[in-house]
């Protein structure tokens, strides 16, 4: 292996270790004050790695730290977008949170989440994957519960409970996956290759899909997302919605056997994806706060990504991961841009308001798939893989739904920022927003030919344009149609199903209370002594029967 | 059944009878002092008789000496115990 390969490996390792080093730096009091300024620097190695390194570079850590990192095409695509958004959001956060209490704590959680979310995209062995996945999920709690308000604490609690539940599913799946392998900590590739053959494959598949669906926010496990993302400070919401959910996407890409066709699992995933897309859009329309609308839009978009992966899995089409990653990249950049846009829009007023609103509107429509925008490219690239017939119609209808959602978002944004005082957002916040917006236009165009195989020009052809336009027209029609029922907005609370569950909580609360009463009775001396004797008799009987 | 065995039999039976009397006294007598009286008198004498009866059975003189020692110690502790109990009973009796 030439020096270049080892240098590439080191860059890959730097992508993961740089944020950790910065987080460790926070321990020293002197360095602590300068860390917020350096937040944007931490993801740069990852950005370089995604851009410069060719697919297939890998590095194995020395013996005690058993972890190997490897870069492949979907990983590289997602890594690039994620690193860019992290860096922009880092710069944004530095100015957005300057002077606020608990900034150092926020920086530590920020850097740990950053390390986890980037590492998860490039890690290649199972234990390493689980470690980084957990690091990302648990340290994200710090971002969600940063503002110490009641809403933030409730969102944090819900987030933590469901994150730990997801961790439990994944751990059991990974353990069953690794059980059959000779090496206690196998590479993901080998373990997945053996998956179709393993006796417990259905159990593993179900657990994997549950764990990653929870991370991506597919229904009914999406309830934490509309609560957590709005509760976090603006840059953190951008990153949570933009990058953290991609951990679920890369999980599905890595752990599902796309080479061998799995019609059963594929259709299940696809249907859940489509349902999520519809439900996400429907619930989003009923929201009033912009950040919550964007959160529901994330749920809906992730539904689409899951649909793509499901279709790919059912057909056994190996290109599905690449396309899903491309779609994910587009979503990362646009959604990150939108969240930053909301921040900038709230801070600007008067003369500055109109251009910001225009740009936000453009971004929103790009997400919905407006022709000539990167969104259109993303949907076009994905179209052939979805095939024709009922499934592709459903995806188009979902596109209509997201169009309606985006129009609703633009309307709400316009209304919210109407009476802003005449002021302009500080440069340190608008610049990152502009960079991300620009990136969200340019990068998909740049990657389109390599991914979808046909030249750029074909995107302009009439047939492809029509395929995009009719869903949007439908979306606009529905939006105008429902415009009159404005009252409907705001009736569905955030985290819909969760609120119903919480009403049942008192009925559930009496289980622990019953356990506490039982414990109180068990810890009385006569009962404990009697239990001891019964244990003696039970064991004695058992042994006599066994002898 | 030599002379010695006969002698032992008689003494031990007498001792046992005395013990029985002592116990009967303990059960029947009304108050503490009279019970004390029965106990200390009858049981000590009973023990003395039994020790006397066992003397010839002993293989060596030392065995006999030890038996007497036992009897003396029993006497000593019985006497002290009954004095103490009597003292407490006397102190309590005026108030009762």
């Amino acid at each position: 292996m030439s020096a270049a390969a080892s240098a590439a490996g080191l860059l890959l390792a730097a992508a993961l270790l740089a944020p950790l080093a910065l987080a460790a730096g926070c321990l020293s009091r002197a360095f602590r004050s300068r860390v917020p300024g350096l937040l944007w620097l931490a993801p740069i190695p990852a950005l370089l790695a995604a851009g410069l390194l060719s697919a297939g570079t890998a590095i194995a850590f020395p013996v005690p730290f058993r972890m190997t990192l490897a870069l492949d095409q979907p990983g590289a695509i997602l890594l690039g977008g994620a690193a860019l958004l992290w860096s922009a959001a880092g710069a944004y956060a530095a100015s957005y949170l300057r002077g606020k209490p608990g900034l150092t704590g926020f920086c530590v959680w920020w850097l740990l989440t950053l390390a986890g979310s980037l590492g998860v995209l490039i890690v290649a062995d199972i234990a390493g994957f689980y470690l980084l996945f957990t690091l990302a999920s648990l340290s994200a709690y710090g971002l969600v519960a940063h503002e110490q308000t009641d809403a933030a604490r409730r969102a944090g609690l819900v987030y933590m409970v469901l994150a730990l539940l997801g961790e439990a599913f994944l751990l059991f799946a990974f353990v069953m996956l690794a059980a059959g392998q000779p090496d206690p900590n196998p590479l993901i590739r080998d373990a997945v290759a053996a998956l179709p053959g393993s006796p417990m494959r259905d159990g593993i598949a179900v657990l994997l899909m549950l764990g990653f669906a929870l991370k991506m926010g597919l229904i009914p496990l999406h309830v934490w997302l509309p609560l957590a993302h709005p509760a976090a400070p603006m840059p953190a919401s951008a990153v949570l919605s933009g990058v953290l959910v991609k951990a679920g996407v890369i999980g599905l890409i890595r752990f599902l056997p796309f080479e061998s066709a799995q019609p059963l699992w594929g259709t299940v995933l696809a249907t859940v994806g489509i349902l999520t897309a519809f439900v996400g859009a429907a619930l989003g329309v009923a929201q009033r706060r912009p950040k919550t609308i964007l959160a529901y839009s994330t749920v809906s978009q992730m539904g689409l990504v899951a649909a793509i992966l499901g279709a790919g899995l059912a057909a056994g089409d190996a290109s599905a991961p690449g396309l899903a990653a491309y779609y994910g990249l587009h979503h990362t950049l646009v959604k990150g841009g939108l969240f930053l846009a909301v921040g900038v829009a709230f801070a600007s007023g008067g003369a500055h308001r109109v251009p910001v609103l225009l740009l936000t509107g453009l971004l929103a429509l790009s997400l919905a798939g407006l022709p000539l925008t990167s969104g259109a490219l993303a949907k076009l690239a994905v179209k052939p893989m979805l095939g024709y017939g009922l499934f592709s119609i459903a995806v188009s209808l979902a596109a209509a739904g997201s169009t309606m959602l985006m129009l609703h978002f633009i309307a709400v944004m316009a209304r919210e920022t109407a009476d802003n005082p005449a002021a302009s957002a500080p440069l340190a916040e608008t610049l990152p927003f502009l960079i991300v917006a620009a990136a969200s236009f340019i990068i998909p165009w740049w990657l389109y030919p390599t991914l979808s195989g046909d030249p750029l020009a074909s995107a302009w052809s009439l047939a492809s344009l029509w395929k995009l336009v009719w869903p949007m027209m439908l979306g606009v029609a529905i939006f105008i149609g429902t415009g009159r029922f404005a009252g409907m907005a705001g009736r569905v609370p955030e985290g819909d199903i969760l609120v119903l569950a919480e009403r049942q909580a008192p009925r559930l609360a009496h289980l622990p209370a019953a356990i506490e009463r039982l414990d109180g009775r068990l810890r009385l001396w006569p009962t404990a002594g009697l239990v001891l004797l019964c244990l003696v008799i039970w064991l004695g009987g058992g042994f006599l029967l066994a002898a | 059944m030599g002379l010695a065995d006969a002698f032992t039999l008689i003494c031990v039976v007498a001792g046992a009878v005395l013990f029985l009397a002592g116990t009967l006294g303990l059960l029947r007598f009304p108050d503490t002092l009279s019970r004390l009286h029965a106990l200390s008198k009858a049981d000590n004498l009973g023990l003395g008789l039994i020790v006397l009866g066992l003397m010839p059975q002993q293989a060596s003189l030392m065995g006999g000496a030890k038996l007497v020692c036992i009897w003396l110690l029993a006497q000593l502790s019985a006497a002290t115990a009954s004095q103490l109990i009597a003292g407490i009973a006397a102190r309590r009796k005026p108030q009762a």
Binding site: F65, P512, E516, L522, L532, L539, L544, A546, A547 | -
Partner: protein, 506 residues
């Protein structure tokens, strides 16, 4: 009976491990209060060296260390034997004892009045007695000798609980003493029956006896619950929460981390070595059911506690449950050698990482209680600022308890889960996962309180020296560092086990 034990050169080290702390108890009694601490710290250092030497000797010779006391071969005499598992337990005990010693020295150093008074001297003397008992439990091969070791443990542990002299802790200590006595009496009765049936109390000789009458069944049926009472497993945990919560910080660290592990170790020896395969399988099932119930029930109880120390105590009872679900996972009683399986390694790793993590947690809780004056979790808002190190200690130890990578607890959970997956024990696997979730349930609220910024800052009762907080942090980091060990079965744990296997002919 052939002479079963051939003394190995390293054997005398085992005697030193047991007799050193015992001699220290005598020295402290004679030297009086002022020099007690010096003798104790010297003994801790020496004991650590002896434990290290035993470990090296075991690895070098590759066979178990054996020592025949007074050169009287069992069954008449008593033999000491340390195989891989015992040596690991000795090492863990030495490390936690040394850490507790350093911690106690600084803790008592806070107010010098108690340092040389009743509290200080009694603590050091009892701690050494505790250590001698623990070492003897891990190395002795004779059941009655193990009874004396258990009594040594109980007599040293009970006064530790009520060192602060309050009515509550006195009641807790009395309840602990009585239930532990009930346990050891049942154990002694079982030992008596075994002697009646086999004419010896040596573990290996009993194991090699061919036929097993009803005496073995009834004896085991008495001994195992007796030891469960001393290990405070779920239905018999009445004495543990008040005792461990009421004891001083250093004492509750040792009690939770080590003292309740000795009866667990003995149950492991009884079921794996002495019990015939049929009974071992039954015992394994029963203990697994109790262990699983303990994990779930006591984790929920830990969730509902208001006081930090009580929450940690209930968490101890829950984590002990993990050690008991190892039996069916390691295939005890189905003829295969259980010590070769990954579940055995998982159990050993869980025991070690729990010892370290729980000691660190209790010490951290002790520091917070000392600094703030109370340990009601609700009112501990922002305790991360006052003494800076307890929250990271609590966090790291919590990682190991929850089984979150990269901690030792995670590796142990992984090994146990893998064994459950391969063995098809689905409900055990679900219990392990639920245990991890519930552990998260009671660790996170505390971390949340640590990071919270309260309305009015916590008022500090006492300044806490940094050195005092370092010890628990080191223990917690050790518990997490265990996570970097290989995932395969430990080679170390199998040393010295096979020749016991020959005796247990299925």
């Amino acid at each position: 009976m052939t002479s079963a034990y051939a003394a190995t050169p390293g054997g005398l080290l085992l005697v030193l491990a047991v007799m050193l702390p015992a001699a220290a108890v005598l020295a402290m009694l004679v030297l009086g209060p002022r020099r007690t601490r010096v003798v104790a710290l010297a003994t801790l250092a020496l004991g650590l060296v002896v434990a290290l030497a035993i470990g090296l000797e075991l690895v070098r010779s590759g066979t178990a260390l054996i020592y025949v006391l007074g050169n009287w071969q069992p069954p008449l005499g008593i033999a000491l034997r340390a195989d891989g598992l015992s040596v690991m337990m000795l090492a863990v005990t030495a490390v936690v004892m040394a850490a507790t010693g350093l911690f106690a020295r600084d803790l008592f150093g806070l107010d010098l009045a108690t340092a040389d008074g009743r509290l200080g001297t009694s603590f050091w003397t009892l701690l050494m007695g505790l250590w001698s008992g623990l070492n003897l439990v891990f190395v002795s091969q004779d059941l009655f000798n193990l009874y004396v070791a258990l009594e040594l443990l109980t007599f040293a542990a009970v006064p530790l609980v009520c060192l602060d002299g309050r009515g509550e802790t006195m009641a807790a200590a009395l309840r602990y003493l009585m239930f532990a006595l009930l346990g050891s009496m049942l154990y002694l009765l079982g030992a008596g029956l075994l002697y009646g049936a086999y004419g010896t109390l040596d573990i290996r000789l009993i194991a090699s006896a061919s036929q097993h009458g009803p005496a073995m069944a009834i004896a085991l049926a008495l001994m195992i619950p007796g030891l469960l009472a001393k290990a405070a497993l779920f239905p018999l945990h009445l004495w543990l929460p008040p005792a461990h919560a009421g004891a001083p910080a250093a004492a509750s660290a040792v009690l939770s981390a080590l003292v309740i592990k000795a009866p667990v170790f003995l149950i492991l020896r009884l079921v794996a070595d002495i019990a015939p395969p049929g009974s071992a399988a039954v015992a394994g099932q029963v203990l697994a059911v109790l262990g699983a119930a303990s994990i779930l029930f006591c984790s929920i109880m830990a969730l509902r506690q208001e006081r930090l120390k009580l929450m940690i105590a209930y968490s101890t009872v829950a984590q002990i449950g993990y050690l008991f679900i190892v039996f069916p996972l390691a295939g005890v009683g189905d003829g295969t050698a259980p010590w070769g399986t990954i579940a055995w390694t998982g159990g050993a790793l869980q025991l070690t990482s729990h010892a370290l993590a729980k000691a660190a947690m209790f010490m951290a809780a002790g520091i917070v209680a000392e600094a703030v004056g109370h340990d009601r979790i609700r009112d501990l808002g922002g305790f991360g600022r006052a003494p800076p190190l307890p929250p990271p200690t609590f966090g790291w130890a919590g990682l190991s308890l929850m089984g979150i990578p990269p901690s030792g607890g995670f590796i142990a959970k992984c090994l146990l889960l893998t064994a459950a997956a391969i063995g098809g024990h689905l409900w055990l696997a679900l219990t392990i996962l639920a245990g991890g979730l519930l552990a998260g349930g009671y660790v996170f609220p505390v971390m949340d309180r640590a990071l919270a910024t309260p309305a009015e800052p916590l008022l500090l009762r006492k300044p806490i020296p940094l050195r005092l907080e370092l010890v628990p942090l080191v223990l917690a980091v050790l518990a997490v560092a265990l996570g970097f060990l290989p995932l395969a079965p430990f080679g170390l744990l199998q040393i010295g086990r096979p020749d016991i296997a020959l005796a247990v002919s299925p």
